[in-house]
Symmetry: C2
Subunit: 191 residues, 2 copies
């Protein structure tokens, strides 16, 4: 069932087919309908979550009711509240399917054992973690100095898949602007 994860493990984590199968033996498959939640505030993230198919986003809701999008993800990506997963503390985020989705979940206890057993897997996740950190740093620097137009064009260059796949208002909330203003930007671009 989790073919994409197996492919990822063999081509990116460089596991043998047997090793990959061993990892997969611990995997639970989870199917989500559109708008269904994978994680909600108060819950503790118990799994590493790989998107086999579909699309999800993680976001917070502030006291004033505004939504802030932290991550958008599609098939082939990992999506999680890393803070909650690593510290086993209550999350403050929502992770919701924006399309019907299928996920492969690796329970944390099982993964902890597997990581010690398979160095390739450790390197893979260490690399993922470092990249997540750097990406966040990049995003912080991006937001510091560029106006909305620049941030939007860079977003489109960097993630052409996402721009078309998610509703505009989610992209807007990822970029930190209002949907109305993003609509204006887009209309300027068309002309």
């Amino acid at each position: 069932m989790p073919e994409n994860l197996q492919l990822e493990l063999q081509t990116k984590a460089l596991l043998s087919e047997a090793e990959a199968k061993e990892v997969l033996s611990h995997v639970q498959v989870k199917t989500l309908k559109r708008k269904e939640f994978l994680l909600q505030p108060g819950m503790v993230s118990q799994h590493m979550r790989f998107i086999e198919s579909g699309a999800l986003r993680s976001y917070t809701i502030e006291d004033d009711g505004s939504e802030h999008t932290l991550q958008l993800g599609v098939e082939g990506w990992w999506i999680n509240d890393l803070y909650s997963y690593l510290t086993q503390q209550a999350s403050r985020m929502f992770i919701q399917a924006t399309e019907p989705a299928v996920l492969s979940l690796i329970p944390k206890p099982a993964l902890d054992v597997l990581l010690r057993k398979h160095p390739g897997l450790s390197y893979y996740f260490l690399d993922k973690f470092q990249k997540a950190y750097v990406a966040l740093q990049e995003r912080t620097l991006e937001q510091l100095g560029n106006d909305a137009k620049d941030r939007y064009t860079r977003f489109c260059e960097q993630y052409p898949q996402l721009e078309q796949r998610f509703p505009q208002y989610m992209v807007a909330s990822y970029l930190g602007i209002t949907p109305e203003f993003l609509s204006q930007l887009r209309s300027k671009f068309r002309s």
Copy 2:
């Protein structure tokens, strides 16, 4: 000499005095004059760096010449380009003393060995990494939804030490606004 680091190791990493001394035996002390650089683009970060005294900031310079401040730090804090340190790739950042400073440097090879030897030290740095990640995430979310006034007031609440210690234009560049506008905000606050 590195009394503050010893204190940190014993009270926060919960090392015994003997363990702390062992770590300190690998430490190099580095003294910086005001405006001197600890790291510049192209260099690889070879050490974990603890600020014994003084103040530093890390920042990037974009193609258009604008500066973006990533971190401000004072005595008792760690300062580094974690990306460069972890991956041993060339940095793209400046780290510069904004006041005369004294730092304790732990070379990466020595620290790697020490981490394996002293679980308390591992937990300490793991916790630091996680907190760095979460802080970055918080900052990203902060920038997404709040206007400059709110970001500034939160900054003052969260880091009252920093607000008084660094020139306004650095605080402005940390917050992602112009120094002139920060000046206006401040004058509004006084009245």
